[in-house]
């Protein structure tokens, strides 16, 4: 990724050197040949072909013909959004901030691991958690990319919070400290969606393990004792003190998504909960908490991780699984 970034920066400099008068303030590399284009990528959540609606029942969810599931949660962080050209160059999408370029509750502006968005696909009418509309609803990623004259063959992005920010203080105002000097480390105060999800019961921070919940997908299962089948994706096998930025996880558990033939003018991105759950009998808890909270001994995680193409003990990475992420055509 760094190599790609340098290559883009190099092109930009060459163009400037030739008298190009790029007025873009973006860091994304927009120039006269390939000016920045404003882009908004919509996301939606479905169970199969049916739109995710909080509290609605969906039959046939899970393995062996499936069971009735009730939509309960559909949130995920994404970062490092980038376009892939026909000649295999990656062009980053620079996520927007507010009018002043500051982070919003939904997006931390920037590109690569700096550009982080929190998608909250729980529909507006019923917030899944109460009768009120969901004030945090967010179904799109917005920004710019220098792709005006590029031939784009795919979109790539990473799910979750990047390692650099995964162990910062989600409560919002404690920077990580340098152990040697005791000085705060720049950029480690939670902002935007990283701060919002740590406040109160935001639900996207995993306090016990001092990291964020990369994705939170939940369905209620009326016929099961446990009530809810959780999919909480987070980094595991971590060690080191978070407050000194020393925490490192052996398993990042951040799915890499690549969607071919993606055209930002024609397509949005679908997250299919039915596909994610298709390898699990959602009425059965095979160990640990109901569903999968990423624990390495939780057998419920095998099917989930296979479908997210994440390594997991005993997971079959060669299987042909239904796609959790796919493109859909805009109306």
């Amino acid at each position: 990724m760094r190599a790609t970034f340098l290559a883009i920066a190099g092109i930009s400099m060459v163009v400037s050197g030739c008298g190009g008068s790029s007025s873009s303030s973006s860091t994304g590399g927009g120039d006269d040949i390939n000016p920045d284009v404003s882009i908004s990528i919509p996301f939606n959540a479905t169970l199969g072909n049916d739109a995710f609606e909080c509290g609605k029942e969906y039959p046939g969810i899970g393995s062996n013909g499936g069971n009735i599931a009730v939509a309960h949660d559909a949130r995920l962080f994404i970062h490092n959004v980038r376009f892939v050209t026909n000649d295999d160059r990656e062009i980053p999408m620079v996520l927007d901030g507010d009018d002043n370029g500051e982070a919003t509750a939904q997006q931390k502006p920037g590109e690569g691991i700096e550009g982080i968005a929190l998608l909250d696909l729980r529909d507006k009418g019923e917030g899944c958690t109460s009768d009120d509309a969901n004030p945090d609803y967010n179904d799109s990623v917005t920004g710019t990319a220098a792709i005006a004259n590029e031939n784009i063959k795919a979109l790539r992005f990473s799910v979750g919070v990047p390692a650099k920010y995964n162990h910062i203080d989600a409560q919002g105002n404690q920077p990580q400290l340098d152990r040697e000097t005791g000085e705060p480390i720049a950029g480690t105060v939670a902002e935007g969606p990283l701060a919002a999800s740590g406040m109160g019961a935001g639900g996207m921070h995993w306090s016990w393990a001092m990291g964020y919940v990369h994705a939170r997908i939940e369905v209620e299962v009326p016929s099961a004792d446990a009530g809810i089948f959780y999919v909480h994706l987070g980094s595991t096998e971590c060690d080191g003190e978070a407050s000194y930025a020393e925490r490192v996880c052996a398993n990042g558990n951040r799915p890499e998504v690549e969607l071919n033939d993606f055209n930002p003018e024609l397509h949005g991105i679908n997250v299919n909960l039915a596909a994610l759950l298709s390898g699990n009998d959602i009425t059965v808890n095979q160990g640990g908490p109901a569903g999968c909270m990423s624990g390495l001994t939780d057998l419920d995680c095998i099917g989930i991780f296979e479908r997210l193409e994440l390594p997991f003990p005993d997971a079959d990475m060669t299987g042909d699984y239904p796609a959790v992420f796919s493109t859909f055509e805009l109306q």
């Binding site: 404690q174 019961a201 971590c238």
Partner: protein, 399 residues
């Protein structure tokens, strides 16, 4: 280890005694960020407190009201006190407590006396180093659910607090720089900071053992003195993990930040299927790190007030102090039936200090007498830590 540590600290102490203004007699590096009265003897070094939440009496008092307020749970049925009761040195007397939705916590409630001094909070989690981080878990956690606050009910819970007249003043005094500390978006953070301040301010250094070490020779019975010598002997080896003024090796204070990893040890309680496994989900440090070498490693507990905090061990699986001592005497616990069958004595991760020893009934009684001398009756009867919503008890429980 302990001796070396003292040797390092003493010169600093001597230097400071030349300062007429020094009130603590120890090198706190001038880091006392507030004039908070810790209500503890001068010889105890000041604890670490985070820059972002310096302790004040006002935050401590607000935290005290919150700690004892059942309105802080989703259904109004539980407060922090439900699992942390003063007469039991802020534990609850059960093996494993139950949360508001009926979920049973996998682990035993811990005493929170002197929580400000431990390297890491909770039984086996090496990650939690600040009380502020820990308090989020019982409030908002879902695995297990404890207080049951979540996205759906957090505004309701907050509104119940906002309706109480006591809090109008308490919040304003605790957070004087904020215009609306109970109503704006920082409200939950303020609640957490206040609760952390109350917990951090709970100090317990007033046991008979402390009187004894301060020079009052008759503060310990002859049995307790014999037990103390056994405790500190190379036969029992207790002192390696339960050392110093906190009686745990998991300690930090304002004089220094240890640069060795926070201590966690396997004491040979389990060895399921002979592969050194501990019953899920209580695999200790391993739960977070995933390392086989961390299986069954738990933080050494402070033994202060230990006689009040039965049952024992991370899962409450040992009923009495006598049984704890017998487990150590056997060099671990051999479980011969049931799902946890296995010989913990053979656990591959068992700490080398868990050696077997022979011990007589009299010696067990002596060690128990010593452990009982660590009880701080002043602490468990101190109105400063008691429920502010109730009138003070008129009876004195001190024996």
């Amino acid at each position: 280890m302990n001796r070396l540590f003292l040797a390092l600290v003493l010169p600093a102490s001597l230097l400071l005694s030349g300062c007429p203004d020094s009130s603590t007699g120890i090198d706190d590096q001038g880091a006392s960020v507030s004039d908070f009265d810790w209500h503890m003897p001068d010889w105890v070094p000041l604890p670490v407190e985070p820059d972002y939440n310096p302790i004040t009496e006002a935050k401590f008092q607000l935290g005290r009201y919150l700690f004892y307020d059942t309105d802080l749970s989703s259904d109004g049925s539980m407060s922090c006190e439900s699992c942390h009761q003063q007469d039991k040195a802020f534990t609850d007397g059960v093996a494993r407590p139950t949360g508001v939705t009926g979920m049973i916590h996998p682990r035993n409630s811990q005493s929170i006396a002197n929580a400000a001094w431990v390297r890491t909070l909770t039984w086996g989690n090496p990650t939690l180093t600040d009380i502020e981080q820990q308090i989020v878990i019982p409030l908002f956690g879902i695995d297990p659910v404890e207080m049951g606050v979540n996205e759906a009910n957090q505004d309701l819970v907050l509104s119940r607090l906002q309706r109480k007249t006591e809090y109008q003043t308490l919040f304003a005094e605790a957070f004087p720089d904020q215009s609306d500390p109970m109503y704006d978006e920082q409200a939950w953070q303020n609640i957490i900071h206040a609760l952390a301040s109350f917990v951090r301010g709970m100090t317990s250094f007033g046991s008979n053992y402390d009187l004894y070490t301060a020079g009052q020779s008759d503060a310990l019975s002859t049995s307790a003195k014999r037990g103390m010598n056994l405790f500190n002997s190379e036969k029992l080896e207790c002192f390696h993990c339960h050392e110093g003024y906190t009686l745990t090796a998991s300690v930090r204070d304002r004089r220094r930040t240890p640069n060795i990893p926070a201590p966690f040890f396997n004491t040979g309680l389990y060895n399921i299927d002979g592969i050194s496994a501990y019953p899920e989900p209580n695999t200790g440090k391993h739960e977070l790190t995933g390392k086989t070498s961390d299986m069954g490693l738990f933080r050494p507990q402070s033994l202060r007030n230990i006689a009040l905090t039965a049952p024992y061990n991370h899962d409450g699986s040992t009923a009495t102090l006598r049984e704890v001592i017998l487990n150590y005497a056997a060099g671990g616990r051999n479980i011969t039936s049931g799902p946890n069958t296995g010989d913990g004595r053979m656990n591959i991760n068992k700490d080398p200090f868990i050696v077997s020893f022979t011990i007589t009934e009299q010696e067990i009684e002596d060690v128990v007498a010593f452990l009982e001398s660590l009880t701080d009756y002043e602490f468990i009867n101190n109105p400063r830590y008691a429920n502010p919503w109730q009138p003070p008890k008129d009876q004195d429980l001190t024996p």
